[in-house]
């Protein structure tokens, strides 16, 4: 679909049996699957996969993930989560494994005020064209702090409401500017909706994706995070701890840049 070569990585000892099994699965697939490359390497799964990403100059890493993590995993970190953070390329986390492909009907994209956002929105249009998705919602998450008015009584509430309207308008214009830079063919036949949400960054978009039952959520790559970020979660952590749908994290590809 993306005219890409698939590389399957199996972490563990190579054996005829395993290879045979994988090959037989792949044979049922289409052309791309038949041309796929199989790699067998043993070691720590995170390191192995990261190595392969670097060696093969991977553009997109696809991972299966659990929808919810338990408390222990949350703090120690599952493999998928570690990979998400460390991978040098974009990552697609799948929670809905299905033999029959479920048509992707609605994509939710973040529209944060961030230099990475323009790239993310552009990529999401590319992806939705490829997947045949007809609806994209761009969510502008605005943190409460930006309103600068604390609601105490009627007067401050009115002021806060006006401030919100202004911010919403500003964000809409900003997203519109980004949308204008995207070429028309990419946008054709796609219904675009923008929605401003005032709330916790990263959390609101995940909750929104659940409410509108989005099929795919596309996010900017997070900045570096450590253990403190998991104790005081923000942004991406909310989404990783409770995946609302399949999630694609767009990272600027280091290899492409070179």
């Amino acid at each position: 679909m993306f005219n890409a070569q698939l590389i399957f990585v199996h972490v563990g000892e190579h054996s005829e049996e395993k290879e045979g099994l994988l090959q037989s699965i792949l044979k049922e697939g289409n052309e791309a699957a038949k041309n796929a490359k199989l790699l067998f390497q043993s070691g720590d799964p995170v390191e192995v996969i990261l190595n392969v990403c670097a060696l093969e100059k991977i553009d997109l890493l696809i991972l299966g993930a659990l929808q919810k993590e338990n408390i222990f995993k949350y703090y120690v970190g599952s493999i998928a989560r570690k990979l998400t953070r460390k991978a040098p390329c974009s990552v697609l986390l799948l929670i809905k494994h299905s033999v029959v492909r479920i048509p992707c009907k609605h994509i939710v994209v973040n529209g944060l005020k961030n230099p990475k956002t323009a790239e993310t929105i552009a990529k999401s249009f590319y992806v939705s064209q490829k997947l045949g998705c007809k609806k994209i919602s761009i969510i502008e998450e605005i943190t409460q702090g930006e309103i600068h008015v604390k609601v105490n009584d009627d007067i401050s509430l009115r002021r806060a409401t006006i401030a919100k309207q202004k911010l919403t308008k500003r964000e809409d214009i900003r997203v519109k500017d980004i949308l204008d830079t995207i070429e028309a063919p990419l946008k054709s036949e796609i219904q675009i909706k923008t929605q401003s949400i005032f709330g916790k960054r990263g959390y609101s978009i995940g909750h929104y994706a659940r409410v509108v039952r989005a099929d795919l959520l596309i996010m900017n790559a997070p900045n570096k995070t450590g253990i403190l970020d998991r104790i005081f979660p923000h942004d991406m952590e909310y989404i990783l701890s409770e995946l609302p749908s399949d999630v694609l994290i767009v990272k600027e590809n280091v290899f492409q840049r070179r």
């Binding site: 494994h97 949400i197 005032f198 909750h207």
Partner: protein, 744 residues
């Protein structure tokens, strides 16, 4: 400028009204202030000082509108134990220590306000607060009952005092003693309090009951002095003792035990109770405001803190917002803070002018007022009301009540919080569920981006007193004249505290012309039929169908109004739904809340999409219209959400000739283009163009209409059914016309 002028004018115009309200309130505040101070074993004037300082300062600095401030009921028990224990029984010294505690707690309250901790009161389960208030009521009742019969020297814990009460009554009735007249005055005063509300005479009601008691009691003493010319038969120590020169004999706090444990304990108790009492009162009084303003809670807390500190420095009690006096003020036409100010001014006037008369008030008369308030706080009616909400609420209530009575207020409220949490975990059979989700944000609010622009609030996981503040902070950002829908369908547990508070929001929004609705609770079971009962998804199905939610009840009401029939649930889903292409790929689980008039059937439908891991449960409200004349198969849609799907099946967008605007705005799909084009006549196109948008599908004899893939609020349901009826009539008329044309 003109605006300012009119504002000033209306302010001036409002002054007479507020002077009157302030006057009436001062009539009730005077006896209450004296009584509350005496009940706390403080000098009687301390209560009046608190009212005066509170009234003036909070009127100037406060952030609420029609509240009245002064000494509060809730603090009597804490202050009493502080005054009697801090100096090991020396009441005068204990009073001075307590004044110091009041000054410090005022500073703490100011800090609470400054750090915007007004939300603190949201973390207490409402049944626990009820239990605490009842315990305070019992405490006041137990002590003052003895005083009412003329025994001022009884000591002991609340329990001891209650056990001794029957003895006191027997003593009073059968022993000959010189307190008899005083006791009779007490009993008569109590009768006045009880009967006051039952006498609906305009002139009698002009003066509040406590003032009548004072008037009667003082008049009685004059009757002895002037007409009978006999000494007053009530002994001197049963009369109010005021210092000769009120203003020069003010007490000054003693700060010498600042760091002792029991002093700190008292400070914390006073701060806790006074902030909870004030916050609850402010919330309640806001509902009485004729101008529907919203109080600035944090600013009010700051003002109350300053007032408390200054009152303490002058020898007065704590200043809190009081509900009873505020409601009297509102009933007598108060419109702004001037009422509070004038109430304080009149109090000063009374003290200066009637000092001599005040010393004639017998203590039993004041005690009777307090016995009545204590009884009101802990009346059996409250208990039966809480039992009506649910057995578990009664357990919380009683735990808090008993622990408070046997230990102290802080342990009581802590016990209430712990038992509430334990009950919640038992009901949900999971502690991890709460711990895991406690600190996660769980509320999403946004303005729905369609023509109606209502606010949509979705809550996930659970919503209880532990995280209610998250929901509250979102809801508080919505102007009360807007439309709000709160969706709990993704939330598996909602507790009583939240249900009660949501009810308050519904009232506020209704009174300000907005609309506030709660949806998604119809599947949650509740143990009782009470609208505030806690609801959880884990309850059995039987329970869910037995106790209807507020939404279900109003649906039943709407159905009655329209002459439709209503059924909360149905064992099997409708067969006809499967004929609609929308449901081709979906599995219908359940149909609930069915309203029908034979032709139009409105229902909530719960269906799933996908299977196994990809499975998603969707709830939506739809309406089905049965039609006699055959219809072409079509789908009318606006936002193109379903367009993708129809592309796959080979449908394409059909445009109706002569209506480019309609074709642009709506996506119309169908197999038989000709039939559809003839079906969409000018009238029908006009009808769709001029009405709100719905997604519409047809089979050969029915239409399916729905709006969003979520449940609809009652207001939306009304609009939907109206739309469906009119659509049916339009199609019906059209069919008739074509028929008559054919016949011609």
């Amino acid at each position: 400028m003109a605006n300012k002028q009119t504002q000033f004018q209306s302010l001036v115009n409002s002054i007479p009204k507020n002077i009157f309200a302030g006057f009436v309130v001062s009539l009730i505040a005077l006896p209450l202030g004296l009584g509350l101070a005496i009940a706390s074993e403080a000098p009687p004037i301390a209560g009046v000082i608190s009212s005066v300082v509170g009234g003036i300062l909070v009127a100037i600095l406060g952030g609420s509108n029609i509240t009245i401030t002064g000494p509060g009921n809730g603090l009597v028990v804490v202050l009493l134990s502080a005054i009697t224990t801090l100096a090991a029984g020396d009441l005068q010294q204990g009073y001075l220590y307590t004044l110091a505690a009041i000054v410090i707690s005022g500073i703490l309250m100011f800090a609470l306000g400054a750090f915007r901790m007004g939300i603190l009161s949201d973390f207490f389960p409402s049944s626990a607060i009820q239990g605490m208030l009842a315990a305070i009521g019992i405490g006041i009742f137990a002590k003052q009952l003895h005083v009412m019969f003329g025994y001022t020297n009884v000591q002991g814990s609340t329990v001891d005092l209650l056990i001794e009460a029957p003895d006191a009554i027997c003593n009073f009735l059968f022993d000959n003693h010189n307190n008899f007249i005083a006791g009779i005055i007490g009993i008569l005063s109590l009768l006045v309090m009880i009967c006051y509300s039952k006498i609906r005479n305009r002139y009698f009601q002009l003066i509040p009951a406590p003032m009548w008691i004072v008037v009667f009691a003082v008049g009685y003493s004059y009757y002895y002095e002037l007409i009978l010319q006999q000494p007053y038969p009530v002994s001197k120590d049963l009369l109010i003792n005021l210092p000769d020169k009120v203003l020069s004999n003010l007490a000054f706090p003693d700060f010498s035990i600042l760091l002792q444990g029991n002093f700190i304990n008292v400070v914390i108790s006073i701060t806790l109770i006074s902030s909870i009492e004030s916050l609850l009162s402010i919330k309640a009084v806001d509902k009485l405001d004729p101008l529907k303003r919203r109080s600035n809670v944090n600013r009010d807390l700051k003002a109350l803190g300053i007032a408390s500190s200054i009152s303490g420095l002058l020898g007065g009690l704590n200043v809190v917002t009081v509900i009873a006096r505020s409601s009297v003020s509102a009933n007598n036409g108060a419109t702004n803070r001037w009422a509070n100010f004038f109430h304080a001014s009149f109090l000063i006037l009374f003290i200066v002018l009637f000092q001599e008369q005040l010393t004639r008030i017998p203590l039993p008369a004041l005690a009777a007022i307090l016995v009545y308030t204590g009884y009101k706080l802990a009346s059996p009616k409250n208990i039966s009301k809480i039992f009506g909400i649910g057995k578990e609420q009664l357990v919380i209530f009683l735990t808090t009540l008993l622990v408070t009575i046997f230990t102290n207020l802080i342990s009581g409220i802590l016990a209430g919080i712990v038992i509430t949490f334990v009950i919640h975990t038992i009901l949900n059979k999971s502690i991890g569920f709460f711990i895991r989700n406690l600190f996660k944000p769980n509320v999403l609010m946004y303005k729905e981006a369609d023509e109606k622009e209502n606010y949509y609030v979705s809550v996930v996981n659970f919503c209880s007193f532990l995280n209610y503040s998250k929901l509250k902070s979102k809801l508080d950002q919505i102007p009360a004249h807007e439309d709000v829908i709160v969706d709990f369908s993704r939330c598996s547990f909602v507790d009583h505290t939240v249900m009660e508070n949501l009810h308050n929001y519904i009232q506020t929004f209704t009174s300000k012309g907005g609309h506030f609705e709660v949806i998604g609770l119809d599947l949650h079971g509740a143990n009782t039929n009470h609208p505030f009962a806690l609801r959880r998804i884990s309850a059995s199905k039987r329970m869910a169908s037995r106790n209807l939610t507020k939404r279900q009840k109003s649906l039943r009401f709407v159905a009655q109004d329209f002459n439709w029939s209503y059924k909360p649930s149905r064992s099997k889903p409708f067969q006809f739904l499967h004929d609609f292409s929308y449901f081709k790929t979906k599995k219908i689980r359940k149909v609930k809340n069915i309203m029908t008039n034979g032709e139009c059937t409105l229902f909530d439908v719960i269906y799933t999409e996908g299977e196994f891991i990809a499975k998603q449960v969707i709830r939506s409200t739809m309406i089905h219209v049965q039609l006699k004349s055959p219809l072409p198969l079509f789908t009318l849609d606006r936002d193109g959400l379903f367009e993708f799907f129809y592309h796959l099946v080979g449908y394409k967008d059909i445009s109706i000739e002569g209506h480019p605007d309609f074709s642009k705005r709506f996506f119309l799909h169908g197999h038989n283009q000709k039939e559809i084009e003839t079906f969409f006549t000018n009238e029908l196109v006009l009808f769709f163009e001029s009405n709100t948008y719905y997604h519409i599908e047809s089979t050969d004899n029915g239409l399916l209409i729905f709006h969003k893939e979520r449940l609809a609020s009652v207001k939306e349901i009304k609009a939907m059914s109206d739309f469906a009826m009119r659509l049916r009539n339009t199609i019906f008329k059209k069919a008739k016309k074509t028929k008559s044309l054919q016949e011609c």
